[in-house]
């Protein structure tokens, strides 16, 4: 099986090089930041002039501290000062704890932000699969405006989430980053019945004891997890174009398993979809800033 080449994402790009053509004019040159504090990774997207900058770090215990670290980091990358930032929107698992004194800010759910981010990267997006560190979601999007039409979320079990895959990688003695690629090297279809983080451990150990190859076990785990995500998509009803976002979207094994099970390919985008939520947050930040400005101008007039 051919393993797809690993894409090297740049940390800054011209807006017109990465956004969907029809969305380029919708972003203003205003300097804003979208921050997506996930359960495992925290991401930031800074929009400045005609450029988009990204940065990523591990989520710490304190979301506020993590957010401030991201802002400092992206500031160092770009030379942008605090006073230049017009608005910040926080999203993700840690958004509830965000409250900035230095900037006007707001919070928007990751569901709305992933929808908006995916829409700006691929304007025809109608369905999103978003798999993050601790839950998975299927989101239906209005392609006219990037707004959420319907969504369904699996937060009942960890199957397929980053948290689950971390555990699997550990049990198979792989690095997390290589787990998906190893799954693509499978030669045999194995059945894995349990997808619970707790019970999967004994099932994986039992497969290892039977002498099964680690690659085959990895593939079986990805397919078992993908079946649950497929059920979410089935509940909403798949409408192309389909996009894969969130922290697990770079896992090629999961991508392949989902495409096979759903029977539909994912659209590729020019920005790492790990940043889709943060990009969406930046879009909301621009809109909120424009709202404040328009309101202030009305008051002055």
């Amino acid at each position: 099986m051919r393993i797809p080449k690993k894409i090297k994402w740049k940390r800054y790009m011209k807006i017109n090089a990465i956004l969907a053509d029809e969305k380029v004019s919708d972003l203003r040159p205003t300097t804003v930041i979208g921050i997506d504090i996930g359960s495992r990774q925290a991401k930031a997207v800074l929009v400045h002039g005609d450029e988009i900058h990204t940065t990523i770090t591990a989520s710490g215990v304190d979301s506020q501290e993590t957010a401030e670290r991201l802002i400092k980091k992206i500031g160092r990358q770009t030379g942008i000062l605090h006073k230049d930032i017009a608005y910040v929107v926080g999203t993700g698992y840690g958004r509830i704890a965000l409250d900035f004194e230095a900037f006007p800010s707001d919070v928007v759910t990751e569901i709305s932000c992933h929808a908006m981010g995916a829409h700006f990267l691929n304007a025809g997006t109608r369905t999103i699969i978003d798999i993050g560190g601790q839950d998975s979601k299927a989101i239906k999007v209005d392609p006219d405006n990037g707004r959420v039409v319907e969504f369904v979320m699996n937060d009942k079990c960890a199957a397929g989430t980053g948290r689950f895959l971390e555990k699997v990688a550990e049990l198979l003695d792989y690095k997390l980053e290589e787990l998906g690629e190893k799954a693509l090297l499978a030669e045999k279809t194995l059945e894995v019945s349990s997808q619970c983080v707790v019970f999967a451990e004994s099932e994986i150990i039992s497969l290892k004891v039977k002498g099964e190859r680690r690659e085959d076990i990895a593939a079986a785990i990805h397919f078992a997890s993908a079946r649950r995500v497929r059920n979410l998509v089935n509940r909403l009803g798949l409408e192309p174009e389909l996009v894969f976002s969130g922290g697990v979207s770079n896992n090629q094994g999961m991508k392949r398993a989902l495409e096979e099970l759903i029977g539909h390919p994912f659209k590729t985008t020019k920005l790492d979809m790990v940043y889709a939520g943060a990009l969406g947050a930046a879009v909301f930040a621009q809109r909120y800033y424009e709202g404040v400005r328009a309101s202030t101008e009305r008051e002055v007039a």
């Binding site: 839950d135 707004r147 319907e150 937060d155 309101s295």
Partner: protein, 424 residues
Amino acid sequence: MLLTTEIKPIALGQSIFSAPKIATRQELQNQLEYINASKQEHSYSPAVGKLYDLALSYVEDAEKHAINGGRSAWVMGIWDSPLMYALDIVPISLTELGRLGSNDAMMIAEDYFQLPKETCSMVASVLGEWYLRRNHPVKEIIVFNRSCEPLNLGWELIADEGFTVHRIETVNRPRNNDPERLAEHVRFLAEEFEDLAIRLTGKPVDQARVAYEIERINRILGKVRKILDLRKNNPLYIRSLATMFLLMGSGHYFGKPEEYEAVVDLLLSELRVADYIQAARGKVIPLAWVGGRGQEFGVYKTVDDCGGAILAWSTPNVWRHDWVNARTPLESIALNMLGGPEGYGGSPVHRLKPIEELIEEYGAKGILFYSYVGCSFAGVHQEIQRDHFHKLGIPSISLEGSFQVGPPSGQLLTRVRAFVEMLS
């Protein structure tokens, strides 16, 4: 920790961005903290403050009543309270156990009663909390066998802990609302009530007292309807959590009928002249709540804080119609328990039409379906209803919340917030 942000109404037309920010750094940890925070948010309303005071003193005062020689009993607190008051028994709604209980209840359920972890959180929490209260003065529990099977088993377990459980055999609303069958069921239930009265007091219930209590509940429900009607034009004067307490109180009056009615009167008079309370995001998205009376109070707060308001309520507290007069007052209770004119009892299909009417009347843009974690019955109900309203083009979201004390999960609040954002 309590919210420290002072929340002030802002003028109509003001930018949403200059509206007071809701500080979210300090998460509220349990239901009591949510009640206290809500009380603070309603500092402009003496009536809402009194409503919460009634709720907070409910169980303790009912227990004091028992210590002082009166009689109090744990009941469902929905259809049964008029009968209890007619028997001079202060009804304590068992739903208060989840709301005002302790963190240890779930551990007791799992470790002492050995309930599986998957057990409905309501059943586990109620059993655990009763066990913790086994040395408290109120030891009588009056229940309908109509409750779910896990609760029916729970009554057996708690009876071994020194509680006296009075069970009422019951029936359900017949399929297709067959009037003859319904009349049979009503007669059967009324006989059960007569037997219960004799078991509890040694004598038949005074039917005139029951009639008086039905007259009282109808009078109060009429006022509650007026409040909910006025609230359509000023949804955040009484925010969603406080409204849920208002509705719950209409079932049992928090053990103090006269005081509850006085609060309702005060609330009504406040609402008639109240200034409009502006939402944090400018316009309010009217929503419907269908299902259990959620114990995860953060859900209500999130709805209000992010621009929604629950205006249409379809919960076990039936409030949209007066109790119907039947041949006898006890038959009136029976008929109301089986669903009355709203046809709520029995199959969830009976509720579809009333919910449709409710949504139309209150202009709800979406439905929040709520059930307790582990309640397989409510989960199926939700699916039937979700499917029905999906076909009608009405957006909905299914929420599962825990019954016991504790903060709501972040993911539950994410769903709620995303749903309101979607409708905004």
